[in-house]
Every structure is written in C-alpha cells, then in structure tokens.
Subunit: 159 residues, 2 copies
C-alpha cells in the first residue's frame, strides 16, 4: 500500500513509539489502515526471527505489542473520523493505552505475515475501546482489546 498509515499522521514528537513510531530506528514500525472492504482497521506485520516463544511460534509479548499499537492507532483514526476531520490536523488526537488484554487461542506460527483486524467497540470522546483479531494463514490465533485514552493536549511531549 502506498497510502499513509494512521501512524504516519502522528505528530513528530509522538512518533518515537517502539511499536509503531516512524522515528524509532529500532522499533517494529507497525502500520495500520482502514480496510477498504469493511468497517475494520487492518495491519499486517511479519515478526522477526528472534520474536519467538517456543521454536516455530511467535512470542506472546510481541503479539500484545502489535495489538497495543494497532489499538491506539485505530482509536486515533476513529476519533478523527467521528470529528469529521482529516488525520494529522490540529488539535492532535493521539491515544495511549489504559488497558490491554490478549487471549492466546492457539500457538501463532512464526515466519509469516500476521494480520490484525480492529473494530471500534465503544467510542466516547476521550475513551475508545478497540477489539481485535489476529490471524496467521487466515486462522484466528489471538484476540485482543485495547481501552485507549485520549492524550490530553497538555501532556503532549515536546522533544
């Protein structure tokens, strides 16, 4: 995809996140988009070989990490959408995680792209709940939920 991801619209000073910040050289660089064929958001990530739990299977902490960033990214996009505003316009709508939960349904195979699908389950101005499904080879391997909290403008870092 050549279109910009949700995370590409984040302000420079909030783009150092290990999971999804374009300014974090060592990070995962997760990219989230609206799915053009549904109301869902989508992200595809291929874990690195070292992101292993047991040999052949993806580390649960990595799965939690990409669910975390896909959740806050989807929350930001949903907030702009609800406000009828383009992503990246001021004032910034940037979300952080209040609660993260992940159910591991089966071992997730390592060595292939994983697809995350996100849905807005509940939306208020300052609190958005995103539910997610994680697939490998079209098989559901994990589900997750992120309670995302709007970062108050005064709490925006200036780096």
């Amino acid at each position: 995809m050549t279109k910009k991801a949700f995370q590409d619209y984040y302000p420079e000073e909030t783009s150092y996140c290990y999971g999804c910040g374009r300014n974090n050289d060592d990070g995962l660089h997760l990219k989230s988009y609206w799915d053009e064929n549904s109301e869902e958001s989508i992200a595809v990530y291929t874990p690195r070989p070292e992101h292993m739990a047991l040999p052949g299977y993806v580390y649960g902490g990595l799965i939690a990490s990409i669910i975390d960033c896909h959740g806050t990214g989807t929350a930001a996009a949903a907030a702009y959408r609800a406000a009828g505003r383009d992503m990246g316009t001021k004032p910034d709508l940037r979300f952080v995680t209040g609660k993260l939960s992940v159910k591991y349904l089966r071992p997730t195979p390592l060595g292939m792209p994983l697809t995350l699908k996100g849905k807005v389950a509940e939306q208020k101005e300052r609190k958005i709940i995103i539910t997610q499904e994680l697939y490998a080879n079209d098989e559901l391997c994990a589900t997750g939920e992120v309670i995302a909290i709007l970062l108050p403008e005064g709490a925006m870092p200036s780096k």
Copy 2:
C-alpha cells in the same frame, strides 16, 4: 543475585523465548526469582533506550512483555513448589500464556530499573493465575494478570 532464576531451569529447547530465553541472543533475558522476604516473585528489568512509548516513558508493549514472562515463570516455579519438586527436574513443568491483561495506571518512566512483583492468585495443576504489580522508583505504574497454562509434555518442542 548469583542464584539461578526460574528461567535458568527451563529445558534448553524451551529457552528461546524473546522475553526470557537464555538461548535467544536478541531477547530481553528477563530473570524471575522468589522474593526472600515475601511470598511473592520478583524480577527487575531495565528497558533499553529504544523501548519508548512517548519520549521519556516506557513502551506499553514492553511492559506487557515482561509481565507475560514473569507470569509464566512464576507459574512454573509455583507448580514445582506445589509438587514438592526442585525446578528443572523431570517431567518438565513449563507454562504458556492463555490470557494476558495489563492496566497502565500512569506513564512509566524510562531510564531506570522496573520491579515486577508477582503473586499466585489461583493455582490448579494445569492453570495458574499470577497477578502482578510493576513499580518504577517505588511508584506503582501498572498492574497485570497472566493466566498460565501448563504446556502438555507432548507439545514440548525438540529443537
């Protein structure tokens, strides 16, 4: 501490975990122990500079990751203890995560050791629930819960 951590007793073939495996060269190498002064387990981990959420604060996915590994490690140690067996003896008691949840209570400062404290909240032979608290500078920053599931012996990888 010079004593062996829970993770140091894991069988070689299940010691490649990104979060805590001694055989994963690129991993986090989390080490968990029983606290000598309480019934709790303890782990201390200093995030790397790149493990950032917003500048100055620890990435939530990293917090979830260390809670994950401290949870399964504590579950293994608790299972051996309940069986009256030394860790590392056969048959192996190695746990994987069925469900992980984390509440982020306040931003966790980056650049200092984080202390995880774990408690056995519920224990059955094949399912152990570990609740956790994460502290920075003695301030409670996050809480977590891991539902750990005993890895069936037939599911042990042979690498």
